[in-house]
Amino acid sequence: DAMVIQNPRYQVTQFGKPVTLSCSQTLNHNVMYWYQQKSSQAPKLLFHYYDKDFNNEADTPDNFQSRRPNTSFCFLDIRSPGLGDAAMYLCATSRDSLARGDEQYFGPGTRLTVT
């Protein structure tokens, strides 16, 4: 039973054409995260939501935005994708704070190609 679901699994977009990636969770977790993972690199945190509170990483480009309309869903919007934005985008959840010892559950990821 999938707990963190990402759609689509593969997405192709054109240079500069806005694209939205979606994530949903059945775990009822408070925290949802978006990571960018490029080939042979570690996942890099873009931002996360603790409930409705949005937390942006300092070095996340303005080109990346996120929305969390309810507990179950979170979206990643890339306003003007560049070739350098081609990557795997991973959604993850945790019940509560990682610093308090909660683990992260990752979705299967969406592989974004920019042409």
């Binding site: 690199q41 996360h48 603790y50 990483e57 990682l98 979705g107 299967p108």
Partner: protein, 110 residues
């Protein structure tokens, strides 16, 4: 920013040999987590270490957390082809700012 350093970047072993990957932080960590990512897959949580000097075992995998809570290691005894993948350590900075190590890619020759 704060980072977790992980070595080696790659490790190629013969099946049956042991494997170890190490992580180091310049700051004291509240906890450290380990994830495995198979080729083409997503990171999967393996374990979390919280206490100073903690040692946990999962079958052939042994995880250690240093006394100062600044370093950690994952050791696999007698590797198998199913162990292939990239192993990441990760630690939270602030409440939910998870920083991943660069990962160690393990390949196993049958």
């Amino acid at each position: 920013g704060q980072q977790v350093m992980q070595i080696p970047q790659y490790q190629h072993v013969q099946e049956g040999e042991d494997f170890t990957t190490y992580c180091n932080s310049s700051t004291t960590l509240s906890n450290i987590q380990w994830y495995k990512q198979r080729p083409g897959g997503h990171p999967v949580f393996l374990i979390q270490l919280v206490k100073s000097g903690e040692v946990k075992k999962q079958k052939r995998l042994t995880f250690q957390f240093g006394e100062a809570k600044k370093n950690s290691s994952l050791h696999i005894t007698a590797t198998q082809t199913t162990d292939v993948g990239t192993y990441f350590c990760a630690a939270p900075y602030n409440n939910n700012d998870m920083r991943f190590g660069a990962g160690t890619r393990l390949t196993v020759k049958p």
